[in-house]
Symmetry: C3
Subunit: 178 residues, 3 copies
């Protein structure tokens, strides 16, 4: 655990300060190389934008052709799989590790943590500034509108929006715009 | 297109790194001067806060007396007009360019992009950390509560809030607080 | 007023640039020391994460054992009290000072500001990226889901979520996960 934290920390610092002098494409290559060196499994033609923070790269699997834009947070402590062609808008946060809160009257800080993995299916589009909470796996071809908070698994191929995210339309038919 | 990207990128870098050594007022003047040099039309007594990112300044028109606070994103690729006395809270994002998503089973990355301009009317107050999506023009004197996601045009002079933003009150009567 | 602004500004700069070369724990100690020097009252075993911005530290009272994670905004211009064991997720914003908007047809910028203090009760857990608006005091043991916008006082010990935040469950019973 300690090792993981130190490793992540190291990456975080590199990403925000040491990579900035490099031109964009070079910085992206270094970023992906570092993530792989730290244990992440990252496919071909993957784009990870500047400012994106990865917590515990060892738990991260990114398939081919995934696009993660800038300033996202990928918390892979509980395991995070981004399947082929996932597209993540900027400032989106995916969390797989959080506090327990079963008991009241007891500080949250003293209740321990839990982890729940997340799988984001093929061709899912998460809009700008979404939040995906532990265990909220998203099935293939879903579209999640900008600013949504995904709190539980989304099983149907559909369009979701809101906080918490609710189904607002199907993928068959009119144009949908997150 | 390529030129626009390079220009924006250049601005982005200047804004975040080169302007920081300057005191606030000087940095703001340089920022506005750079935006004008890059093609934006910016009126008198305009305030643009630190950390604000402008995508395609050529498409941006800002009238007099507009206040854009810090850490906003103004995406002017599809055309963005901020009318007189617009007030934008910090971390607000306005997007005029995004992905098509008409066809399912096909990666969003392969469906192309579209643009839709946005006009934000006179004296509109957008609270902190709002998101305004392509085409979501806002009429004069609207107030948009903090954390709202504006997904379609708002035609009435009213108070809106939520994700997606819904009318929650009129501008005539009690004090409203985004 | 001027003094306060200058002081805050000084802190802001220190936080973002001068503290970065220091290792995490040292930076945290310096940050808390600076906040105290600027007039904040901060208890024992308090954690304030990197990138957190404090507006008017003079108005801030933080009791023992509080955790404020990274990249939060604490606006203490109207007075802000975080009681023991408050836990604040990253990118959460608490605002106690904002614009008046009573009169329409008049620019918000010309209507003046108002302040309303906020008290966040013992053991409250605010999830990631929440917004708490002026006067929206939160009673002890509440849990506020990630991405919520708290617009008015929350008086019951309960679980709240959404924008604006609504009661979605009690603290007695099943596990709750912001």
């Amino acid at each position: 655990m300690n090792t993981i934290r130190i490793r992540f920390r190291f990456f975080s610092v590199l990403d925000e300060r040491l990579l900035r002098p490099f031109p964009g494409a070079t910085a992206r290559n270094i970023r992906i190389g570092l993530l792989r060196a730290m244990g992440a499994s990252i496919g071909h033609r993957v784009y990870i934008g500047q400012g994106t923070r990865v917590i515990n790269p060892k738990g991260l699997v990114v398939e081919d052709d995934v696009t993660v834009t800038r300033d996202c947070v990928l918390d892979a402590r509980g395991g995070l799989l981004l399947k082929q062609f996932v597209l993540m808008g900027f400032e989106t946060i995916v969390i797989t590790h959080t506090h327990r809160a079963d008991r009241f009257g007891i500080p949250i800080q003293n209740q321990g943590m839990f982890e729940k993995s997340i799988i984001i299916g093929e061709r899912v589009w998460l809009g700008t500034r979404c939040i995906v909470l532990p265990g909220a796996t998203i099935s293939a071809d879903c579209i999640i509108g900008s600013g949504s908070v995904v709190t539980k698994p989304l099983d149907d191929m559909a369009v979701y929006a809101g906080a918490p995210a609710r189904r607002i339309g199907s993928r068959t038919g009119a144009t949908t715009t997150p």
